[in-house]
């Protein structure tokens, strides 16, 4: 799959932002006043910034409001609706925390839970794709939620929780990679089932429909990332979990904490790039890839 920068940025940043909002909304000892203002500013900038960047890949962003209508059937629509509910409730909750020194608890609980629901809906967009065996797997929801919780805890300064979730995310990610490789290798969709010619003999793509590329080959038949996949997986694990864990284990300083956050974000970006670049869409079979 084509790793579109707008989608990678969106899933990374909004995952972090909604992860932060989850902890801000549910934490009994959530910050108040100007400290709260800074936390909410960062959380909203990440969540809203991610949502805005996702509209850059749309052909007609001016019609984006129509995407709120099909929540009964479409995970993309559910994601949009959940995001607006989460941001609305957390916006009001933030208003209380920053300006009235108040914790309007029910608003925080609903907003925080809906923040995680938003991340879950995002992951389900990928998981539902039978056409992409690597995604049609238990891992996208678990990983997206795990990354959101790890990043959210890290950015809201919950060091112990962050360390637990960072370690868990790394372990689950390794298991997921191994199991996704197995899932993709075991896919029962082949060029034989795609053409229905398998009963005659072994099928080989002889000639593509056109000498040039097309929307399908550009969007879904992406092949660059797989060559360095193992190295990139190690780099992503090191940046996402290992380095931040080391930085959190040494005595606390704001510089180390900031470095941990930056390293974590860089690691998640590499992981998301791989998430797309490694995924093979079955339509590639028709093109002999």
């Amino acid at each position: 799959m084509h790793p579109a920068p707008s989608i990678i940025l969106f899933t990374t940043l909004s995952g972090l932002g909604f992860g932060m909002l989850f902890f801000l909304g549910l934490d009994i000892a959530s910050p108040r006043g100007w400290v709260a203002f800074v936390f909410y500013l960062i959380a909203f900038a990440l969540a809203v910034g991610g949502l805005v960047s996702s509209t850059f890949h749309l052909g007609h962003p001016e019609r984006a409001l129509k995407a709120f209508t099909q929540w009964r059937s479409s995970w993309l629509s559910r994601e949009a609706v959940a995001a607006v509910i989460a941001l609305g409730f957390m916006g009001l909750y933030a208003l209380g925390a920053v300006f009235f020194d108040a914790a309007w608890r029910p608003l925080g609980v609903v907003g925080g839970v809906m923040a995680l629901v938003t991340v879950f809906a995002t992951s389900m967009i990928y998981m539902q794709m039978r056409t992409v065996p690597r995604w049609n797997h238990w891992s996208p929801p678990v990983l997206f939620l795990g990354y959101a919780l790890a990043g959210g805890a890290l950015l809201t300064g919950k060091i112990t929780v962050a360390m637990i979730f960072l370690a868990l995310a790394a372990i689950v990610q390794v298991v997921a990679w191994i199991d996704q490789d197995r899932r993709e290798a075991a896919s029962d969709t082949t060029l034989a089932t795609a053409t229905g010619l398998g009963h005659i003999g072994s099928v080989r793509a002889f000639e593509p429909p056109h000498t040039g590329g097309n929307y399908l080959t550009k969007e879904m038949v992406f092949r660059v990332g797989r060559k360095h996949a193992v190295k990139l997986r190690i780099i992503s694990l090191a940046l996402m979990a290992a380095l931040p864990l080391l930085l959190l284990l040494v005595p606390f300083s704001h510089i180390f904490a900031a470095l941990a956050v930056l390293s974590h974000i860089a690691g998640v970006l590499v992981q998301r790039w791989l998430f797309f670049a490694e995924a093979r869409h079955v339509v590639g079979l028709y093109y002999g890839r």
């Binding site: 005659i200 002889f206 429909p209 097309n214």
Partner: protein, 249 residues
């Protein structure tokens, strides 16, 4: 509404004969022509005469080589367009309701004024039947020429999809696959028509007729018994030459 209808009154679709298709791409040209000049946004081309031409097409012809265990390889031309699936995954993923499947005839269509061009439906389709138009930035797909098949301004013989109407080999057939007595259903029954990628669970309406087994070439030429057998051992001058050359070599 992007939920799928529980049933459709008809299941209009195509039956494509892989034994008959000669790979001439006439259906591609007819499709591009009709669907550029009529219903919906035109099918654009970009950089058409440049180094990297791209364009949107609703129908593309692949070619596949099949190597049987014994005998020579066989070549098949393979037209591919939307299969108007009963359980169309492209429809349910649409966030805006632009994609829909019609209850009356089962055709899967895109309402282009509602399409935000997110491309999710193209990801959901295992067949590569949907392409984003490079100029209009809306999703394009086969409409089964919905503006021809019911069009009373056209002569009756033209009320079928442009690809079917133009096919010079008669490799494409159009009809109601839900009606067991229709010509297409009979053809599918007779030739054991198949679904593409049945394991994807899309329940496609279109069917492909597999190639009939090829004749086996005879082991010997039928006229051989009437010909003088070729001399195995040369005689006379050629025999002397053969023996001499053997000795030198």
């Amino acid at each position: 509404m992007t939920s799928l209808p529980t049933h459709t009154e008809k299941s209009l679709g195509l039956v494509i004969d892989l034994d008959t298709c000669v790979g001439c791409h006439a259906c591609v040209t007819a499709c591009k022509g009709w669907n550029t000049e009529n219903y919906g946004a035109p099918l654009a081309d970009k950089d058409a005469y440049g180094a990297e031409p791209v364009g949107s097409f609703l129908n593309r012809i692949h070619s596949y080589e099949v190597q049987p265990e014994t005998g020579p390889a066989q070549l098949f031309h393979f037209p591919k367009s939307c299969l108007h699936c009963a359980d169309a995954p492209c429809v349910t993923v649409c966030p805006t309701g632009a994609s829909y499947k019609r209850q009356e005839d089962g055709i899967v269509l895109v309402n282009e004024t509602d399409c935000i061009g997110c491309g999710l439906c193209a990801w959901a389709c295992p067949y590569g039947a949907r392409e984003m138009d490079p100029v209009e930035k809306v999703m394009k797909k086969c409409t089964l020429c919905v503006d021809r098949i019911y069009n009373e301004n056209l002569p009756e013989e033209d009320r079928q999809p442009a690809c079917v109407r133009t096919c010079p080999a008669g490799a494409r057939h159009f009809g109601d696959l839900a009606d067991p007595d229709s010509d297409v259903s009979k053809l599918v029954a007779e030739r054991s028509g198949i679904e593409l990628m049945p394991e994807q669970g899309t329940a496609p309406v279109n069917r492909y007729l597999p190639p009939r087994p090829k004749d086996q070439p005879p082991e010997f030429d039928v006229l051989a018994p009437y010909l003088e057998p070729v001399a195995e051992e040369p005689k006379g001058f050629l025999g002397w030459l053969d023996r001499t050359l053997e000795r030198i070599g």
